[in-house]
């Protein structure tokens, strides 16, 4: 049996009085690419924000490597090895590429010690970034910004990388590249929790996927299973028979 890296058990999440996630459970196996898919407002980003500690669940448990993450502050969750690339990249646009990367290794003494090594690794993965280290992040193209955001998240040498809509607002060609990068990261042994609207591409590369709808878990299955499911095709791929 595969080892569970992260498991989320029966969580309920609120924004103030409004409930955004209802009794959802899912898990991510070590070394897998797991996708959360669903329409706008389904609770995908909320789920990621919940895991990274921004908006902890009101009830339910989040277990990571067998330990609870429930009441930990975001910086501690980064220390445990979970890195979150937020939606819209959230780069420090007026800071340079290098400073953005340095900030990615901010979390612990450990990451700072490994800073040079992490930088080299990121540059090996994304050589383009190295040419632009002194350029303000805001001057990069959309694709490069997304790559920088991923690079920044990699600087803390995470075990679990959570990507929130990495293909958002990118040209189709760059979207392809983004999915290639995600596959490459997995090959490097990083577990990936992916939130995407680009359903077809996502299912193609992911090992397992959960389908959320207005805060409820609707379906789950392996990528190809879901793609072949008539119900799923009708709702998410717009195929009509």
């Amino acid at each position: 049996m595969e080892k569970k890296l992260l498991s989320v058990e029966n969580v309920n999440v609120f924004y103030g009085d409004a409930q955004a996630i209802w009794d959802v459970s899912f898990h991510v196996n070590q070394g897998a690419i797991v996708a959360l898919i669903g329409a706008n407002g389904a609770g995908k980003s909320t789920a990621l924000n919940m895991i990274s500690g921004f908006n902890p669940p009101a009830t339910g448990r989040i277990l990571y490597e067998g330990k609870s993450l429930n009441n930990l502050p975001p910086e501690e969750i980064v220390n445990r090895g979970i890195s979150h690339v937020p939606e819209g990249r959230r780069l420090f646009k007026r800071l340079t590429v290098l400073e953005n990367l340095e900030l990615g290794a901010f979390n612990s003494t450990d990451s700072r010690k490994r800073m040079k090594q992490s930088l080299e690794e990121v540059f090996r993965l994304f050589p383009k970034l190295e040419d632009r280290i002194n350029q303000p992040a805001g001057t990069l193209s959309g694709g490069e910004q997304q790559i920088l955001a991923i690079g920044r998240a990699m600087m803390s040498q995470p075990k679990l990388l959570m990507l929130d809509e990495p293909s958002l607002g990118l040209a189709p060609q760059i979207v392809e590249l983004m999915f290639d990068i995600i596959t490459q990261l997995r090959e490097k042994g990083i577990t990936i929790l992916l939130v995407e609207q680009n359903v077809y591409q996502t299912l193609r590369i992911s090992d397992y996927a959960y389908v959320l709808q207005t805060g409820h878990l609707k379906m789950e299955g392996r990528g190809e299973e879901l793609l072949a499911d008539p119900d799923f095709q009708k709702t998410f791929l717009g195929m009509v028979y």
């Binding site: 990274s52 921004f54 502050p73 975001p74 910086e75 980064v78 220390n79 979150h84 937020p86 959230r90 780069l91 420090f92 646009k93 007026r94 800071l95 340079t96 290098l98 400073e99 340095e102 900030l103 990615g104 901010f106 979390n107 612990s108 700072r112 280290i133 002194n134 350029q135 303000p136 805001g138 001057t139 920044r152 803390s156």
Partner: protein, 353 residues
């Protein structure tokens, strides 16, 4: 990590050291006790310190405090009360350090709820409210604080202008050196990250509250030091004098005028504004505020990034940088925000730390 282009590198350090030596020699050359210029520099050093303290919190960490006068006042009162009680003496380093430390401690205590729960405008109003409450507390403090009349100190001990000049110079240099290194450390990078995007900073594992409180309390420490020296200088401390909003707004004005979020901005702004105040006050006291006000309006209109943008632009190559011979002044040898490449690539919004 990127370095400050202006006055950095070997030349910059040498220039700063020469400037400090020059300033140290001034009281010997000029007649310290007679010279108005020495007083002007003394007050400028205090302004520089208070302004740089505010710049750290607001300019770098992005937390606009309108309550710096609370720390100035606390610094002054700790010094005055401890001397009055016979615990410390005249120009006592222990008293001065304690004044700064207690101001910093107060910043931690008040920062926990204010920085933890409030953001942006609400934080600003919270600090303003806190400082005003503190003023009222000291007015109502009866015998403990001396009430509205405050505390009279033995002015017979006045030792002349020279020690004040050197102490204020020392405090300003200490502040600038500390903050120079701080903003180049990872903490400084963390501050800027928080200012730029709080949520992204948090996602990268930057402890928000701890970082903000660090900036807030360091600013308070130096502001408290200035309050302490002012207590020794005026020999009479009262709530209307040291807890006045003036000490909350002056650093803000000077920093914005000079260039907020830049290292030299507050220094330039403080000296410039002190100069304008003093000159206007000397030559036409009846028009003093009018002239100072007009100056402030003009600078903010024509130099929205502060006077410091004259030497290095916030939105492009520094003005003087474009003139060849001046280039070496700006230390492009470092990792260089002011590298030509960055500008060619259309960096509209480069910031300098």
């Amino acid at each position: 990590m990127s370095k400050q282009p202006f006055l950095s590198g070997k030349k910059g350090v040498l220039g700063v050291i020469l400037l400090i030596i020059f300033l140290s020699a001034l009281p010997i050359v000029l007649e310290a006790e007679e010279s108005y210029f020495i007083y002007f520099l003394y007050i400028s050093f205090i302004y520089i310190t208070v302004a740089q303290g505010w710049n750290l919190v607001a300019g770098y960490a992005g937390q606009v405090s309108l309550g710096q006068h609370a720390f100035f006042g606390i610094g002054a009162y700790v010094t005055a009360m401890s001397w009055d009680a016979g615990l410390t003496g005249y120009l006592d380093p222990v008293a001065m350090f304690s004044s700064g430390a207690i101001a910093a401690l107060l910043a931690v205590i008040i920062g926990l709820p204010l920085l933890g729960k409030l953001r942006d405008d609400y934080f600003a109003l919270g600090t303003l409210g806190f400082a005003e409450i503190l003023r009222v507390v000291f007015i109502q403090g009866k015998d403990i604080t001396g009430g509205p009349i405050g505390i009279m100190l033995p002015s017979g001990r006045y030792a002349g202008m020279t020690p004040y000049y050197y102490i204020s110079l020392g405090i300003a240099v200490l502040t600038l050196v500390c903050i120079w290194f701080l903003i180049r450390s990872r903490f400084g990078l963390g501050f800027v990250a928080i200012r730029e995007d709080e949520q992204a900073a948090e996602a990268n594992g930057i402890p928000l509250l701890r970082s903000k409180i660090l900036a807030f309390s360091i600013g308070a420490f130096f502001t408290g030091l200035c309050g302490s020296l002012t207590a020794y200088y005026s020999f009479h401390i009262h709530p209307g004098g040291v807890f006045t909003l003036t000490w909350g707004l002056l650093p803000l004005l000077m920093t914005i005028l000079g260039g907020i979020g830049t290292f030299w901005g507050p220094v330039i702004g403080a000296v410039l504004l002190a100069g304008v105040f003093e000159l206007a006050n000397m030559w036409m006291p009846e028009l003093h505020t009018l002239i100072s006000g007009l100056f402030i309006v003009l600078v903010t209109m024509f130099m929205p990034n502060g006077v410091v943008s004259l030497v290095k632009g916030g939105d492009g190559p520094p003005f003087l940088y474009r003139i060849g011979p001046f280039r070496s002044l700006f230390g492009q040898s470092n990792t260089g925000r002011v590298s030509d490449g960055a500008y060619e690539n259309g960096a509209e919004n480069t910031i300098q730390r």
